[in-house]
Amino acid sequence: MTEKAALRYAVTRRQLLGAAAGVGAMALAKPSWAQTKLNLPLPDGPDARAITTAFPQKGPMILQRTRPPLLETPFEVFDKGVFTPNDQFYVRWHWALIPTDIDVGKFTLTVRGHVNQTLSLSLNDILHGLPSVQLSAVNQCSGNSRGLFQPRVPGGQWANGAMGNALWTGVRLKDVLDKAGVKPGAVQVRFKGLEEPVVADAPHFMKSLDIDHARDGEVLIAYAMNGEQLPLVNGFPLRLVVPGWYATYWVKMLSDIEVLDQPDTNYWTKVAYTIPDTPHASIKPGETDVKMIPINRMVPRSFVTNIASGQKLKAIAPTTLRGIAFGGDCGVASVDYSIDRGQSWRSTNLGEDEGKYGFRQWQTQLTLPAPGAYAILVRCTNSNGVAQPDTPNWNPAGFMRNVVESMNVSAV
């Protein structure tokens, strides 16, 4: 981040925090933010974004694109707790033809393909005919934080708010597949939702999981998030939940499940959403002839949520430092911080464990030993022993950023 961008972002964040605190609104579900614009910390810009409240069932969101909607969660929201409110959960659609009128009495989910019996399930069949399960899990866009890549890359220019954590309620995909009866020889399961391309011969959005993954008992078909039905733009009435995997697999408005006896070769699985098959999916800008594979498991990340970049803190006095972390495809083992550019690390206290795939809050008392400028680094190590890297990855699609975050503050 350039110094100028950091400063602008800090001012905006302070304004937001100040405005919210002024009406005692930090604990409210819908802070009455007067701001209609903010600046994201994107190197060399453009960094101005509107805050929109124009989307039904949604609160204030950072407008990245109106149609099809790309709405980013304002980062302050992540300081409220580990569950991201539905009305500020980020939104990302591929195609512009999104049904806006869903009749719960008419909606059906089809299960077909390499199965003994094709099913057409009503929402009643799903809600009341199968065991209900709940799971906390982070949904994160493959390209979350793409706007921070350097050199910059095309695509949705997200800062860090294309992620959220919810308590998902639904049924196991395994139970639905068992009801249809998967035939021997099945290799993958392909998922399709109701969104359609504007151009008729464009590739319909579809994603696939390997059959064993689809039947692992953790992949869910969710009908509720945080105890309520999903906002339409978050995938009402049914959304696939693939714990630990990037959100591209979490198909919204899920309407069609096809069991395949051949590997899926559709565009969205084979060509789009692929990453270099290298450590951290990282290559050098301009590097070619790299083997590409479908993006898959998430990697650990951690963020400070209660202090803004550029903020002034009291020297030689304890300050509460708080944030969130997630392990990616497993739980959080530890979150550590450094104020000496990574020479030494200190541990933080982890909050309640709401499930290994969800956000975990962390907190510590930080004392900056003398006046001056500091960078606060935070690093999550997950329960598989994988820690965030100290240098940023790079790939042309802007996927899988998880570098150790660094925040500039000054002690006075």
Binding site: L42, D44, G45, P46, R49, A54, F55, P56, Q57, L63, Q64, R65, T66, R67, P69, L70, F83, W95, A96, I98, T100, D101, I102, V104, G105, L123, L127, H128, G129, P131, S132, V133, Q134, S136, G147, R152, V153, P154, Q157, L167, T169, P197, V198, V199, D201, A202, P203, Y223, A224, G227, Q229, L232, V233, F236, P237, Y267, V271, A272, E352, E354
Partner: protein
């Protein structure tokens, strides 16, 4: 429905988020999504306005970083080849030219 209530209630008891103490029901939804009337402006914007706004609003493009002409050419070709954007062949050059002028790497 009552036979399904018990397991749900057990789950509710174990859950950290409060849910209504009744079996979950969904309600039909009908909404209107906002649209954008933003257009590309300035000289040479006709081709991009005529060819690109059917699939996505202009804001997405205007929020992009500065990219080289080569990168913009690749983006336009991706829209045509991968996403089947029906761009008239004679307009491709004008679209790339506009993007390279307005959003070009300096």
């Amino acid at each position: 429905m009552s036979r399904n209530l018990l397991p749900l209630l057990i789950l509710l008891g174990a859950a950290s988020m409060p849910l209504p103490a009744t079996a979950f029901e969904l309600k039909s939804v009908k909404i209107d999504l906002p649209d954008s009337d933003k257009m590309f402006e300035g000289p040479g914007s006709d081709a991009i306005n005529n060819n690109c706004l059917a699939c996505h609003s202009a804001g997405m493009v205007l929020n992009q970083p500065a990219l080289s002409k080569q990168a913009w050419t690749a983006e336009v070709n991706k829209m045509i080849n991968n996403y089947k954007a029906p761009v008239a062949p004679e307009d491709v050059g004008a679209i790339v030219e506009y993007l390279a002028n307005v959003k070009g790497a300096k």
